[in-house]
Subunit: 190 residues, 4 copies
Amino acid sequence: MTGLLERFMAQFNIVVVVGSLRKDSFNAKLAKALEKLFPAEFSFTHARIDDLPLYNQDDDAQQSAQVKRLKGEIMAAQGVLFVTPEYNRSVPGVLQNAIDNASRPYGKSAWDGKPAGVIGVSVGPIGTAMAQQHLRNTLAYLNMPTLGQPEAFIQNKEGLYDAAGHIGETSLKFLQGWVDQYVAWVKKHA
Amino acid sequence: MTGLLERFMAQFNIVVVVGSLRKDSFNAKLAKALEKLFPAEFSFTHARIDDLPLYNQDDDAQQSAQVKRLKGEIMAAQGVLFVTPEYNRSVPGVLQNAIDNASRPYGKSAWDGKPAGVIGVSVGPIGTAMAQQHLRNTLAYLNMPTLGQPEAFIQNKEGLYDAAGHIGETSLKFLQGWVDQYVAWVKKHA
Amino acid sequence: MTGLLERFMAQFNIVVVVGSLRKDSFNAKLAKALEKLFPAEFSFTHARIDDLPLYNQDDDAQQSAQVKRLKGEIMAAQGVLFVTPEYNRSVPGVLQNAIDNASRPYGKSAWDGKPAGVIGVSVGPIGTAMAQQHLRNTLAYLNMPTLGQPEAFIQNKEGLYDAAGHIGETSLKFLQGWVDQYVAWVKKHA
Amino acid sequence: MTGLLERFMAQFNIVVVVGSLRKDSFNAKLAKALEKLFPAEFSFTHARIDDLPLYNQDDDAQQSAQVKRLKGEIMAAQGVLFVTPEYNRSVPGVLQNAIDNASRPYGKSAWDGKPAGVIGVSVGPIGTAMAQQHLRNTLAYLNMPTLGQPEAFIQNKEGLYDAAGHIGETSLKFLQGWVDQYVAWVKKHA
């Protein structure tokens, strides 16, 4: 959680959406490590998605407090960062459900126009590439300008982090470059 | 709901998974109407997915009763029929979440090898085509042989049903043909 | 073809890539009609892709005059407009081949950074939606910021054009809105 | 090239389509090595796709000799094996163009019903996964039952081949397993 002073000074707040609910999620860990690579003017809000209802259009007229909370966070933000595993060669249902909830009712999507970044880490070498391919289709529909390059398909291997949990030396140059491009992208589209 | 006698005689039980939780779901309605076009030897189990937990890998060791119920239904079936809307140009999170839950833990997927059919109805003319494109990728990964042709992208327009809620004359030939192909597909792969 | 004076005054030149080689291509016709909806400061270069070689990496060291021509046009442009049919639920090979040729050798892609728009017309109601879904994945990789909304899946039906071949009244509001958004997108990213 | 006697005895002829035209194509090499893992009753026809015209619907009424040759080979075969690189996160244009040519005119597709396998090798770790994701969508449309599991995303690294160009020990178990599943799939659907 960003401290009060930092938040006060921050000009760009990013909603971070992690696509896994696992307590020791590789993607939650990656998200935290990535945040340290951002400039001081960026702060982060960690979207909670584990308490959202399964989306049901019948609830559109009276969305739950949890959905309203998520939508409020997104609408107040200058960008969204998706850090997600790949389940069954696609976007995890839990993430897609968060996307669905915050995209409704029709015409009241919270995502509209928010610049997005997509990144993910997996145990295997595919590094969530196929999930990202689907997610990008959805983000295009949601009218979220999404950083194209560099792509980031991260494999969770030795050296990704140092002892303190920061991005390790091997991956630092690439991931700092990714963050720098995302920062520029947010500034351009915020 | 199929009667007891029919179920007893049925040689092929199909798990029907509807991707929308809406009470008056167009896709639930389509599913019900489609079932009437199947031969007598087919029976149907309507998978309940609205009470599933959001998938969390931490629960893999002790899956909930709801997840076990879904997995049991799938494993006992000879085929799966997905009838789903398209949300945000992809598979609804609620459906993807059901898929995720029943696909885990690794190596214990309930979907493995079950022949599948994919169909969907929408208000607009795209008829869930883009959701189906993503869903097919997931079903290939789940090792579910999936009917290729005919594709079925249904628009919910005048004449789709008759007054009794059965498939109307305009669409009957096409949808009966679709069911016939799916029936042959299930028989080949069951 | 834009006249000399118009070209001289134009500040934004758009390379138009039509994904069909058919002489009376619906997409070529749509491209021409769309161009009339752009403001005067926009001019158009019609990329020729029917004389490109089938891409072969062995030719990377000495690309043909045709490939160099295409790459030169793209690099000199402020944006790219893809107007394409859907073949076999994906991007036509002829268009993908043009994309491949102009994307190589590695590190020398002509597409890099060029803002893109994607639109297409088909006889059926899907309106090239599934081709666009794949094309958007490729454009993300090519680092081409691509207009998200409005999407444009055009069906070639009565009233799309008036007698003079201009966009007809029924479709004018939607397509003028699409062009306006694309124009703003190009100006933002050029 | 399979010898005359082998061809005579073979009950299953597979058309092998390599998605790269490069003389020393990694995928052509993989295709050749894979063929050695098939049982004796399988023979192979190597589809030539470098001399096909760029698909143009105007030619549908009189397809070229090259297109007729390809279509004839496919129609005479019991299965199709796609061995392809990934270009720009999708199917190479040269392969998509071959697919387009042999799929037309409407209703006269050569691909219809032929069981398919999809495999590919790349320098990077993604191993053509994203190209395969798109290709599977096209094959579903072409009504080609396509092997789901095992997936095969091959990275071209040390040990993939032995000195004689055969599949090396490290990869042999996996790739022999892949071939065995594909063989069973072809037998089921041929």
